[in-house]
């Protein structure tokens, strides 16, 4: 029995290690490649040897900053994501609370409409939305990348499901204690809804940080473009220097990775709960 257990355990670890390797390889390549001086990278980038940290230099990183306004891209991504997340948390949670706890005419079928809207992905409305924002004169600004994404049907649904599950007594006790609806929401409901706020913030942030299609369509000046466009532009910018691209990539993904490592539990929990709702 013990022998069998050990074999079983060993094979599990082996399998996991094999997969882990497959997962790590592209990341390692990017990471180590970013530290190699440029001419080497072009030749070596695609070799197995590139997986080993044979050399180390900050050259590529400096080069990135010289060739493209990386800090600007970074700031843009951060600013846009922060606005969308913050605005979304406020606006979507309030709406979800109205659906979950208040009685008003038309509530039920409006809720159905909102849930139906969840299916519509950005791509299906990108083109008319493009002309809409053009009409509004929002092209090539921050706002065009923020405002359309604050209200989000999926976020509303996540909040709604959660609020439904909160015990009514807390709100009833607050009503009896004399609290009005705004106070009840901000001082009683929201503090007890931390998990769903975290989930929505994380999912929303993940989506927005990597957004490519929309910024591509509606912006053209570097002043407002976010990171994903930066790397796509970098790729098409001659000469093709892989070291720089890797450095760009490492810097682009580090903030997100840091947040991920710190708040890992919330990430995983958040993603898992979407599966439960499904």
């Amino acid at each position: 029995m013990i022998g069998r257990l050990r074999v079983g355990t060993l094979s599990v670890y082996l399998l996991l290690a094999a997969f882990a390797l497959a997962f790590l390889v592209p990341v390692a390549m990017m990471l180590f490649g970013s530290f190699k001086p440029d001419d080497q990278v072009l030749v070596q980038a695609a070799r197995l040897g590139s997986l080993l940290p044979t050399e180390f230099s900050w050259f590529n990183y400096r080069d990135v900053f010289a060739r493209v306004p990386f800090t600007r891209y970074l700031f843009n991504s951060a600013f846009i994501s922060a606005c969308i997340v913050a605005g979304g948390l406020l606006v979507n949670s309030l709406a979800a609370y109205a659906f979950a706890r208040l009685q008003w005419p038309g509530r039920d079928w409006l809720l159905l409409v909102v849930i139906a809207l969840m299916i519509i992905p950005l791509e299906a409305i990108a083109v008319p939305l493009f002309y809409e924002v053009t009409l509004l004169g929002w092209r090539d600004t921050y706002w065009v990348q923020i405002i359309p994404f604050i209200a989000n049907a999926f976020s509303i649904y996540l909040f709604y499901s959660f609020f439904l599950g909160l015990p009514r007594e807390l709100e009833e006790a607050a009503r009896i204690d004399g609290a009005g609806p705004w106070r009840i929401f901000f001082r009683i409901v929201a503090p007890n809804a931390k998990p769903v706020f975290a989930t929505v913030a994380i999912l929303s942030f993940l989506t927005q940080w990597g957004a490519l299609l929309w910024p591509l369509m509606v912006t053209h000046s570097e002043a407002v473009r976010p990171l994903p466009l930066g790397i796509a532009a970098f790729y098409s910018l001659p000469p093709l220097q892989w070291g720089d691209i890797f450095a760009f990539g490492v810097m682009m993904v580090t903030p997100v990775l840091l947040i991920y490592v710190l708040f890992q539990r919330w990430f995983v929990q958040g993603v898992a709960t979407t599966g439960v709702k499904g």
């Binding site: 390549m29 197995l48 519509i120 939305l129 796509a232 790729y235 439960v276």
Partner: protein, 302 residues
């Protein structure tokens, strides 16, 4: 209802509109309205910059796109992509979830590792994997395959090969997305009551039987959900195509969204693009309805 009841509803209603109007306004303006516009546009011949005025054209846009080689290729590619990625990614996610669920040490590290690519923006993933797929014997994947097959492998230019381009993109997508599905399946796995397994062991079931008779049925809804989300994402494929292959070679990797964006911005044919997106939405809607029907069916059985 008494007047007391009415008063309360009025009070609530005013409040509810106050709470919900920003979100509802946003959704109507930026989701519902464009969608409706999309549908309307698809019945016209709008082309920006054209001297012709816009006319209502009935279904002719749809006829046109369904006889267009590029669009048909796109539909085919999306379907193929879904057929490759969905089973593979789901199976892999399930396997990884099962492995990580073992009560062994260090599993949290593996879980973090497998989830990590989800956090990477797709555009970055695409760029990195271009290197992995680099042509010639120095290409990373070529080298790995050569080593594994002990020299039998011939170096290929994956991204420019009509046969290998789509599988290459599939691999990239699987790498990036499997962690997400794994986490969902893992959570579902952990939700299965231990007692079920204990009862099965007492009844004499071996591990394979336990897997088939307990694990799989209990995971049914989670798997259906994972399949649904992956399928929808498969039809949304855009970022990787844009960066890695630009739809080529020879329409081997073009997708519905890629064609739509090109029509709208490349050739300014907005109505055509709208028709494509409406087709796309219809497909997604059908798949979603199908999933809900299957899931509901399961609940009834339970």
């Amino acid at each position: 209802m008494t007047s007391a009841g009415h008063q309360t509803v009025n009070r609530d209603a005013r409040l509810a509109w106050l709470f919900a109007s920003p979100a509802l306004l946003g959704l109507s303006c930026f989701v519902l309205l464009p969608f409706v516009l999309s549908v309307i546009l698809s019945f016209t011949n709008l082309r920006l910059g054209s001297p012709l005025s816009m006319e209502f054209m009935g279904f002719s846009q749809y006829q046109r796109i369904f006889s267009d080689q590029a669009f048909l290729a796109a539909l085919r590619n999306n379907s193929l992509f879904a057929l490759i990625v969905v089973p593979l990614q789901t199976a892999l996610a399930l396997l990884l979830a099962l492995l990580v669920n073992q009560p062994l040490r260090g599993m949290v590290i593996f879980r973090s590792l497998f989830f990590m690519p989800v956090v990477f923006p797709l555009s970055l993933v695409a760029v990195v994997w271009i290197i992995v797929f680099a042509p010639g014997p120095q290409g990373l994947l070529n080298q790995v395959l050569e080593t594994i097959t002990l020299g039998a492998w011939q170096a290929r230019d994956f991204l420019h090969d009509p046969v290998w381009a789509l599988p290459a993109i599939s691999l990239t997508s699987i790498w990036q997305g499997v962690g997400f599905q794994m986490v969902i399946l893992l959570a579902a796995l952990q939700g299965i009551a231990h007692e079920l397994y204990e009862a099965a062991r007492v009844d004499g079931a071996n591990r394979w039987q336990q897997f088939v008779c307990i694990t799989l049925p209990q995971l049914r809804n989670a798997i259906i959900f994972v399949v649904l989300v992956t399928t929808i994402l498969a039809f949304r494929l855009f970022d990787q195509v844009q960066i890695m292959t630009q739809g080529g070679p020879n329409y081997a990797t073009t997708t519905v969204m890629y064609e739509a964006v090109n029509s709208a911005f490349g050739s300014q044919q907005v109505a055509r693009a709208a028709a494509m997106t409406v087709v796309f939405f219809t497909i997604v809607l059908l798949i979603t309805l199908l999933q809900r029907a299957v899931a509901r069916h399961e609940r009834v059985i339970e």
